[in-house]
């Protein structure tokens, strides 16, 4: 299949976006060069296209993805894959604040570490982080799985609603209403099935599965302290 090369540099981002959308509609392989960490690249891409970014990207790369396969060679800025519903995003390096915010489906694979609030308000899909997830990761997640292979920063899974945060490695401390549970063999198999296609399955892992304690689901005055996070 032919490969389309798109140069970002200092061109207006709207023009770059039109080029990417046109190439994506044709269903080809797209390579984006000279990304210069610019924002809003590859937003709202359709399924069937494959796009690779050389270097690092800025904010909201791959946001609203509806099925595209997106590869980012190095780092991604804030909100990578925000509100995506389908598809696959691979970040070769570090993912900034709020990776996968409010995502509905699909998979985000981060090879490095994550900034704070990874998977904030996510409603479905999976985020797999080979490194450490930052402060308050999984904050108010409603669904889906945030899986960290290299530990978690402070306030982990704070105010989790109904999603799951899976961690191997050290957890600095847990957030409000986050409860650590011992996963069943079936639950571990489910996670292994997510990790297997990424080449990350390892049955010797010591998992902690963090879920909501459900104390924040309904306000009761005796729980007021739990609501006062500050």
């Amino acid at each position: 299949m032919s490969e389309v090369v798109i140069d970002v540099s200092d061109r207006p981002i709207r023009d770059v976006h039109m080029d990417i959308q046109k190439a994506a509609a044709a269903g080809g392989n797209i390579v984006v060069i000279n990304t210069c960490s610019r924002h809003n690249l590859a937003v709202g891409l359709p399924s069937g296209c494959h796009i690779r970014f050389e270097g690092s990207v800025g904010y909201y790369c791959g946001g609203l993805n509806t099925g595209a396969t997106i590869e980012i060679e190095r780092n991604a800025g804030w909100g990578c894959g925000e509100a995506m519903s389908k598809g696959h995003i691979t970040i070769g390096g570090y993912a900034g604040m709020s990776v996968g915010a409010a995502m509905l489906g699909g998979t985000i694979h981060v090879k490095g570490d994550c900034g704070p609030r990874a998977g904030v308000a996510m409603k479905g899909g999976n985020i797999v982080v080979e490194g450490k997830i930052g402060y308050q990761s999984g904050f108010m997640a409603h669904g889906g799985k945030l899986i960290a292979l290299g530990g978690a920063g402070s306030s982990c899974a704070d105010a989790l609603w109904a999603g799951e945060v899976w961690v191997t490695g050290d957890i600095a401390d847990l957030g409000v209403d986050a409860v650590v549970t011992e996963p069943t063999a079936e639950q571990v198999a489910e996670v292994d099935a997510i990790l297997d296609p990424l080449g990350l399955k390892d049955t010797s892992r010591d998992w902690r599965r963090i879920v909501a304690g459900q104390r924040l689901w309904y306000f009761e005055s005796r729980d007021a302290k739990a609501w006062l996070m500050i």
Binding site: C36, S37, H39, G58, Y59, N75, M97, G115, P116
Partner: protein, 315 residues
């Protein structure tokens, strides 16, 4: 929102150009005002003063009176003042003065003798230039690109808490501490109570911009004996709100981030030079190589200090 930037060169050079680049890349974060704090080659004695006047028609007489006030405080102009030739009623005047006897008393009288002129910065090397408009417009009007120096700060303002006025934009001088300037991205929620406490100690604020407070807050702590590092960490515990701020002094730039990790900071720090900004795409205007090592300080309660290694031009 707002966008901030800091830059340290490894030898005196074209700092103005770099600051304009850093801010042009972040203009979308706040285009209502843009400002620069430029640290030139330091003087051994005497200060560079940047003053903002609000009535260009009375420029000559107001600067005359400014000089008279300065003389009352034991100082005088060492060079003829210069100013921008923009078409706005407000203007920025640059003056070089001999040391007044008491900095706090003199700045008080110089700010207060009329409502048409106020000091924006005083320093052996610091000059603050700020105005309404985007990075290129402000740089063109005030000749920022040609300014030579060692380090500096930049700011693009999206006003959220106070007026859009040229003097209410950033950077802010830590009145009356020479050579101290700040840029801030965020909001200080206990601004009024801190302002009141600092005013009771005799400090003066010329705007209702919450960022003006931080520069004075940190400088006051240092005056009481804290190191810069201790003052930065203390600010994270004691100042409420969301912030990433950078505070520049004659030989350092320090920074601190709030405990909720709400505001970004992206840094390249290599071979004695630093480029720091709100957005990664800004530091890439300075360091264009694809494989340059960039650090995202995204976490909560972080702080740091970068030294300015080489402040004098080679003989």
């Amino acid at each position: 929102m707002c966008g901030i930037a800091g830059r340290i060169l490894n030898a005196p050079g074209n700092i103005g150009h770099d600051l304009v680049e850093l801010m042009a890349a972040q203009e979308h974060r706040g285009a209502d005002s843009t400002g620069f704090a430029v640290y030139g080659i330091p003087r051994d004695t005497g200060y560079v003063v940047r003053a903002m006047g609000f009535d260009r028609d009375r420029l000559s007489s107001d600067l005359e009176e400014f000089r008279a006030v300065l003389k009352e405080h034991g100082g005088d102009l060492l060079e003829e003042p210069t100013w921008d030739n923009g078409e706005t009623a407000h203007y920025s005047a640059r003056m070089v003065i001999s040391d007044p006897k008491d900095m706090a008393r003199w700045t008080h009288d110089a700010d207060e003798f009329c409502a048409r002129l106020e000091i924006q910065s005083v320093g052996r090397s610091l000059e603050i230039i700020k105005d309404t408009g985007g990075a290129h417009a402000v740089a063109d009007k005030h000749g920022v690109r040609d300014m030579v120096g060692t380090h500096g700060l930049g700011h693009a303002r999206l006003a959220t808490e106070s007026d859009v006025r040229p003097n209410a934009s950033h950077p802010f001088w830590a009145r009356p501490f020479p050579d101290v300037a700040i840029v801030h991205n965020g909001q200080i929620t206990d601004y009024y109570s801190w302002r009141k406490r600092l005013e009771l100690k005799g400090y003066r604020f010329l705007t209702y911009n919450d960022s003006e407070l931080i520069a004075v807050w940190v400088s006051d702590r240092m005056k009481e004996g804290l190191s810069l590092e201790a003052a930065l960490t203390r600010s994270i515990d004691e100042i409420d709100g969301v912030f990433t701020y950078m505070i520049a002094r004659s030989d350092t730039i320090g920074w601190a981030k709030d405990r909720f990790a709400m505001k970004p900071l992206v840094v390249v720090n290599q071979n004695g030079e630093v480029a720091a900004a709100t957005e990664e795409q800004a530091v890439r205007r300075i360091f264009k190589e694809d494989d340059v090592s960039i650090t995202n300080f995204d976490g909560p309660s972080m702080h740091g200090i970068w030294g300015v290694g080489n402040r004098r031009a080679a003989a």
